[in-house]
């Protein structure tokens, strides 16, 4: 990557969180409390008070100067994106987002007008995805704005699509091109003249893939699923490790958007880096049975949602490998967006 833009870091975040949380509460306690799935997927799953329904819960945070800069995101964009990222976690389980709580820690530089615009964006996203804002908390902060959002969704009991369901023989798919958000950020950071609205919108106002997730769940097509929040490489690694399989991606099948290609060409950038390691695109990456492929293509086409087959699942030690255009194989690095500092 370039110096300005974003940095690729090794994924130590999950290891640290695991060391703080894993094994802390007995399995029996969690099961008895109604926890179907705890820490470790896009959202937690808990018993829903009726046999037919479970609840999905996810929490995601945006920190000023870590996740965004005032130069790259307007106030309403910050509000919109903070909720989007959470809605995307529900989409990644095949669920329906329902409720959200919002905590903002507000530094002196964010006055009442700026905060009003932040909430404008938040409610715009809420309206688009039918999410009721039901609560939250506002505190002051000494320096940077922090927006933490919790979103609650519903899913048919036992049907949520986890990242652990990939099996050898399945194909790997994406529900849209990737790297657009990273391209938009790069252009905004570098004040690029040739930056298309699609790239800036991808970065500032991302669209979670709720409809795609529902199609995959309703037809039983999604065997494993992640949203592309940390980049294709990182999400593919998560599926590979959670499922105990190898993912083989084919470079020639990775969807490259015309806007990203054009921006990359004009600015002397390799788009593949953005496509593999850029995050926050919020399309879905998953695996499905090959027998469903044709039916899936027809249905996604009818819904106007892209579907790209980008590789396949193989047996073997968990890893992600890419077959390049020249037919060589090279490892896909387990890296991506990682907001956690080393040491």
């Amino acid at each position: 990557m370039t110096k300005r833009g974003y940095a690729v870091r090794p994924l130590d975040e999950f290891g640290l969180i695991r060391s703080w949380t894993e094994g802390r509460q007995p399995r029996e306690f969690l099961a008895q409390a109604g926890v179907t799935l705890g820490i470790g997927d896009d959202a937690a799953i808990v018993a829903g008070g009726s046999a037919a329904q479970e609840w999905l819960l996810a929490m995601d945070t945006m920190v000023e100067k870590v996740h965004f800069l005032n130069e790259t995101m307007g106030e309403s964009d910050v509000g919109y994106k903070a909720l989007s990222a959470n809605v995307s976690d529900i989409a990644a389980m095949g669920g329906i987002p329902k409720f959200a709580l919002v905590s903002v820690s507000v530094p002196p530089s964010w006055d009442a007008d700026r905060m009003k615009r932040l909430y404008d964006g938040l409610y715009e996203c809420a309206e688009r995805y039918g999410v009721a804002i039901i609560g939250g908390d506002t505190t002051s902060a000494p320096n940077q704005l922090v927006v933490a959002v919790t979103v609650i969704g519903t899913v048919e009991a036992g049907q949520a699509i986890r990242r652990s369901g990939a099996k050898p023989g399945q194909f790997v798919f994406l529900t849209g091109p990737t790297g657009l958000s990273a391209g938009g950020l790069h252009g905004l950071m570098n004040k690029a003249e040739s930056l298309s609205l699609r790239l800036t919108q991808a970065h500032q106002r991302p669209s979670p893939s709720v409809r795609a997730g529902r199609i995959l769940l309703e037809h039983g097509w999604g065997a494993s699923l992640n949203d592309v929040s940390d980049g294709v490489a990182s999400e593919a690694w998560e599926i590979a490790e959670a499922s105990g399989v190898k993912l083989l991606l084919k470079e020639t099948l990775l969807p490259l958007s015309g806007e990203l290609a054009s921006y990359a060409h004009d600015n002397g950038i390799q788009p593949l880096d953005f496509m593999l390691y850029g995050g926050e695109d919020y399309v879905l990456l998953g695996t499905a049975d090959k027998r469903s492929e044709q039916e899936m293509r027809v249905r996604f086409r009818a819904e106007g949602i892209p579907l790209f087959v980008i590789g396949e699942v193989e047996a073997g030690e968990p890893e992600v490998v890419m077959e390049t255009a020249s037919g060589a194989y090279k490892p896909v690095l387990k890296q991506g967006y990682n907001h956690f500092p080393k040491g």
Copy 2:
């Protein structure tokens, strides 16, 4: 108050939040989405998937240098208290806390060891209150640690105790003495020599009143209820305004703990200021029908939980008034902990 310790500020926080959130989503949409009660009480109430049960949801945030200093709170205290404050919001509705999600934004000064201790305290509180930690998020932060917690509880449908149920003729009660946390903070800030463990514990490891809330709900005794997070004055004002009544508190009935009295005496402080305007005690303040008083006293005594009758509810414009020891009446100011900066 003293210069060191904490500042009393006018309660502009709620007004601002209201201006950002009120009327943003149509009532019909919220009702259809299953929202029984949205923004404005200790916790939101949503339909629970079965006719018998509703869900309570609350979110509360702690910010380094705003809500705590490293001189006054150990790492494990921060984790313990962050969850406690949220559990208390469920207690204030009469509910049972069940699940929590935790978002931490971590600056470089909080290394992996410090974070481990924070989670130690968090899980200690979770174990004590039977809360399953099911998810969250970890990001970096440039300067200050921010811990946002969402807690989810259950309550019998239609039974949650709101702050809007106070009616003239009821009595006002507290389930414990107040001002202890503020006394503890004052002592810690000023490195007081005569500081008792009870005061420091009240500040660093507060005990939410889940059992008291359940007793009030199970017997149908709680007409209105708040937890004392922002101070008795502030919570009483919230009940008065939400219920459209006047609360008359009697100075001689306000419970003064021996530890606070002793600390205040040794340090030349007025304990009444701490008792009325100090926050984070997490006892419950509520109102109940006078016919229940005797039964309530017996039951609370049997459970080993204090119950103090401190005043009564009168008809009139919303306000809070105190009858002093000398028989004079003076207004109780609508102020307390307010972490939101002016301007």
